[in-house]
């Protein structure tokens, strides 16, 4: 079976030979035309376009972008800020890196369109500290764009002025959370804010209304404004419009990033056909479909239920390979599409060790502000680390589950969910491995790659 | 060897000597009894009893350890304690009678000994002569009469203490002592009916009673009266317990309900006098019982002292024979005192109404019936 066809709209020029990240090259490929057109349209029309398109945020939560824009408090008289969330820190996700490195102007154009649509006074691109090159490229691109009048004062000759600055993070996963990001941008510790009352749309950066959008989302905005919202809805499936970029990593033949129409490709197609299947002599064991915080899927398990297709309810009975890669389907089977980071694990991986690795990440990245995640994430890490290095007990599985259950829903930000879901799902799907770990470890071959 | 040298002393020498002898013998005996009481009670309760006391200097003498273990030195310690410890007189008492009471207690206790024979020897006249301080005809009556005065010490002590428990103790004591005196007196009458055969000069002398139990071999007069008159012996025994305030008749004292009974307010030396008096009563009472019913100083029924003395060639030396008699007599008394203590740790105390019941409704009729029975029996036999 041939690999399904990619549909690259965001990554249209990524890895294109000869395509450089400078302005002339971008202009050559029709860059900033959309912006030029957009600034002539009423901003509300642009917002409506986006709303119509049904674009869902690509940062991980999948919140409809149009709705988010609609929530912005425009009556307070306070300036509105837009922040590009380029703090791409979810393990397994690496799509934004390529946009920023290879096609920065696409992002800048999308950002400027969004700024114009929302009457934004000032925009920031919050980029990960781990991407110094990206920051430099963006700064370079911004300088070019600014010089060309696409950014800064009187854009494209209009009255509208908006500048974009690059703001570098310094290695904190929590800055991917929008309020944490805002705090960080304000020059503080990236402690997420409590909502209510600090909804970014109302009390965001400097207590002003603020829009925080993912890099990919803003690139989609450019596409939507270019082609119209209706056209966008035709891509992908209803409610999961547009394309999705999947970042496949781990144990597949061809890891990398692939852009497909949302929901038009299944997990099996993605892994077996697009990515070339498991490494020689191995079998897939598990896959995390949406970044490391998404719940894991175990190969061999079946998902059954009813789903809505158009107006009808249709029964489904899927294996892991059959799951369509869209927000709703993945959500339906108890995991999430997230940021599209697909991490594949084959049969050489011990799940306890994999979880130990994930827990180590989350305990390191917890901001330490609110109790459940601060203490819970470290505790889970201590348990899994102890299991791997020290003595594992059979009751540890239940303990881990119990600890993980005490975190989600009770924290200030979604980090609580992010750090507990892996544990919950690992225990739920590989509980036997956890319970038997002490025994298994005695006889285990040295792992192909140690994970902790 | 004879005692005549002694009788050659003038009376004014003899009387103090005898008095002193009584005191010097009875006090240690009473003390020994208290010691014995403690050891016996201890042994009966699977305890060792006092076995620690020893004076440091004596402890160097080898062999003293055994005496120490027997608690001999406890006597000295107790005596010393009673003598030297502070002797309190409570403020609320009637001081004169309070001090008088223990003295009165001592008088009958020491006096009665005078008429009790301890043994016998064969005098130079070849006659069996009692070892006795005052050989009076009315012997037993004297004992009864004088010892009946002992009740006053209890009454006085209780009354003078001017306090609740002693008073109740003394009231009980007076009633109890009067009640049992009757039965006691009645119980000994058969004995004297028996010995005062018609035609004899009539006597209440205890020596004569022993003499009537001193038959040699299987003779009618070699049987001790305890065997021929067991009921009398029993009544006398019970009455004796009551008269000496011993368990199970220790109504006047009864620690359980009256704290200490008549001597609750007493301490130290005065208190010790009461106890010496009680033990004296016990000794004398036991002595009388032995004389009346257990053949006195005769070693065995049918084996009188003079026969034994003869076998041992002691008959010629009155001193040795007297000593032998005294030894046998004292042995019996000691055994009887042991019996007192044995009973004490065996029987629970009677209730006061039970005491009165036993005294008047059981013992007295029994004593009267006993008397009538023996009177008739003796009359028949002697006919």
């Amino acid at each position: 079976m041939p690999a399904p066809q990619q549909r690259r709209i965001i990554f249209a020029h990524i890895d294109e030979p000869g395509y450089t990240n400078d302005l002339p090259c971008y202009l050559k490929h029709g860059g900033y035309e959309v912006l030029k057109k957009a600034v002539t349209r009423p901003p509300q029309e642009l917002i409506d376009e986006v709303k119509k398109s049904g674009l869902r945020g690509r940062g991980g939560a999948g919140f409809p972008c149009g709705v988010k824009w609609g929530l912005v408090d425009r009556k307070s008289g306070k300036p509105i800020y837009l922040i590009v969330n380029a703090d791409e820190s979810e393990p397994g996700t690496f799509k934004d890196r390529y946009i920023m490195h290879q096609d920065p102007h696409q992002l800048i154009e999308g950002t400027m369109i969004s700024c114009f649509a929302n009457n934004v006074k000032q925009a920031y691109i919050y980029i990960r500290g781990e991407m110094p090159h990206g920051a430099r490229i963006l700064e370079q691109a911004l300088a070019e764009a600014r010089a060309a009048g696409f950014v800064g004062q009187n854009i494209c000759g209009t009255n509208y002025s908006c500048d974009i600055f690059v703001h570098r993070g310094a290695g904190a996963y929590i800055c991917g959370e929008e309020t944490g990001l805002i705090e960080s941008l304000e020059g503080k510790r990236a402690n997420p804010r409590i909502k209510p009352p600090y909804f970014p749309a109302v009390l965001g950066l400097y207590q002003c209304p603020t829009i925080v959008n993912n890099v990919e989302t803003l690139c989609h905005v450019k596409y939507i404004v270019e082609h119209g919202g209706d056209a966008f809805t035709k891509i992908g499936t209803p409610n999961n419009t547009g394309t999705r970029i999947f970042c496949v990593s781990g144990h597949v033949q061809r890891p990398g990033y692939y852009e497909f129409e949302a929901g038009k490709i299944t997990m099996g197609e993605l892994l077996n056909e697009v990515c070339g299947g498991p490494l020689p002599g191995r079998k897939f064991k598990a896959v995390i479909p949406g970044g490391s915080s998404a719940k894991i899927m175990r190969f061999g398990e079946r998902y059954k239920g009813k789903r809505k297709v158009g107006a009808d309810m249709v029964d489904y009975d899927w294996g892991v390979e059959d799951v369509p890669m869209d927000f709703d389907s993945l959500g339906m089977i108890g995991t999430m599409g997230g940021s599209g980071g697909v991490i594949v694990m084959d049969d050489t991986v011990n799940m306890v060790e994999a979880l130990a690795n994930i827990n180590a990440f989350y305990s390191h990245e917890s901001c330490g502000q609110c109790t459940p995640c601060r203490e819970g994430s470290l505790w889970m890490k201590k348990i899994t680390t102890r299991m791997v290095h020290g003595e594992a007990r059979t009751e540890d599985a239940a303990l881990l589950k119990s600890v993980a259950d005490q975190i989600p829903g009770r924290t200030i930000c979604a980090f609580g969910e992010a750090c507990s879901w892996p544990t919950q799902s690992f225990i739920a799907k590989f509980g036997d491995e956890f319970k038997g770990y002490a025994e298994a470890k005695k006889t285990a071959q040295p792992a192909a790659h140690e994970l902790v | 060897m004879d005692f005549s040298f002694y009788f050659n002393f003038p009376l004014w020498v003899r009387l103090p000597l005898q008095g002193l002898a009584v005191i010097l013998v009875l006090f240690p005996l009473a003390a020994a009894c208290s010691m014995a009481e403690r050891k016996i009670s201890a042994w009966m309760q699977n305890r060792p009893g006092p076995n620690r006391t020893i004076a440091p200097i004596i402890a160097w003498i080898p062999g003293m350890g055994i005496l120490q273990r027997l608690g001999i030195f406890q006597l000295a310690a107790d005596g010393g304690k009673f003598t030297f410890k502070e002797d309190p007189v409570p403020g609320h008492v009637n001081k004169f009678y309070f001090i008088l009471a223990p003295i009165i207690a001592m008088i009958p206790a020491l006096t009665t000994v005078a008429v009790v024979p301890f043994g016998a020897y064969i005098s130079s006249a070849g006659q069996l002569t009692p070892v006795i301080l005052a050989d009076v005809d009315v012997g037993l009556l004297a004992v009864f009469a004088v010892s009946s005065l002992g009740v006053y010490s209890v009454i006085l002590a209780g009354w003078a203490s001017n306090s609740k428990y002693p008073f109740l103790g003394s009231v009980r004591a007076s009633a109890q002592l009067i009640s049992y005196e009757l039965s006691m007196t009645l119980s000994v009458l058969p004995v004297f009916l028996w010995i005062n055969t018609p035609g004899s000069h009539g006597t209440l002398n205890l020596f004569d009673v022993v003499a009537m139990q001193s038959g040699v071999g299987l003779r009618w007069d070699s049987v001790w009266f305890g065997f021929t008159m067991p009921v009398s012996a029993f009544i006398f025994l019970v009455a004796l317990f009551a008269e000496t305030n011993r368990q199970p008749f220790d109504m006047p004292e009864s620690e359980a309900d009256l704290v200490g009974g008549f001597h609750t307010e007493y301490g130290a030396f005065k208190w010790s006098l009461f106890f010496v008096a009680e033990y004296c009563h016990m000794i004398v009472g036991s002595g009388v019982f032995v004389l009346l019913f257990l053949g006195g100083w005769n070693p065995l029924p049918g084996l009188p002292l003079h026969l034994l003395a003869g076998w041992l060639h002691l008959a010629g030396t009155p001193l040795l024979m007297g000593a032998l008699g005294i030894a046998i007599f004292l042995g019996k008394v000691a055994a009887f005192i042991f019996f007192f203590m044995w009973v004490r740790w065996t029987l629970p105390r009677f209730r006061y109404d039970q005491v009165m019941n036993i005294g008047w409704k059981k013992l007295l009729p029994l004593a009267i019936a006993n008397l009538i029975f023996y009177a008739l029996a003796i009359a028949l036999i002697q006919k």
Partner: protein
């Protein structure tokens, strides 16, 4: 409640005289008279202290010679007769037990007040106070009966201690964080 009449056997004449019973009693006491003694000859023989015996309350050291009491004063609080009096104090930083931070400056138990109830032992969170086997307290003055800290440790000595809570803490402190 139902009343169940119990008919009693009427006593026989012999029984009513009470004499056989007396004889039986005499026999029993005589038997005891000759039976071996049960008494323990105290100063030479010592009783075997049973487990859980509640003797004089004492303070104990742990096997490393650290005084276990941290002067939390719970025993002082719980003591029914108010026999305990503690003056808390800090441990100086140069002390080997500095990581414990607190110890009693003075610890007095008035044995004239103590009722040996053992509540202090029960309440002690540090397992530092124990009612041990010491059972005789003697003295000539009232002051002799007030056991001060030194006396309490002399009486208490060292108690084998399985968990080494504070040692683990010290080790953690020295080992630092396993990040």
């Amino acid at each position: 409640m139902a009343v169940i009449p119990v008919s009693r056997q009427p006593l026989t004449l012999l029984e009513r005289t009470y004499l056989p019973q007396i004889a039986g009693g005499l026999k029993t006491t005589l038997k005891h008279f000759f039976s071996p003694k049960d008494t323990m000859e105290y100063p030479e023989e010592r009783p075997a202290i049973p487990a859980g015996y509640r003797g004089v309350p004492t303070l104990v050291f742990d096997p490393h010679g650290r005084e276990k009491c941290v002067s939390c004063q719970l025993c002082e609080f719980v003591c029914p007769p108010k026999a305990i009096r503690i003056t808390p104090g800090a441990i100086t930083p140069d002390d080997p037990a500095a990581h414990v931070e607190k110890r009693p400056q003075e610890f007095e138990i008035d044995m004239l007040r103590c009722i040996y109830c053992g509540l202090c032992q029960e309440v002690c969170p540090e397992e530092a106070i124990f009612l041990q086997t010491q059972y005789s307290t003697t003295g000539h003055t009232r002051a002799d009966f007030v056991n001060n800290k030194q006396k309490l440790y002399e009486l208490g000595g060292t108690l084998p201690d399985a968990h080494f809570k504070w040692d683990k803490k010290k080790a953690a402190e020295e080992g630092g964080n396993a990040h």
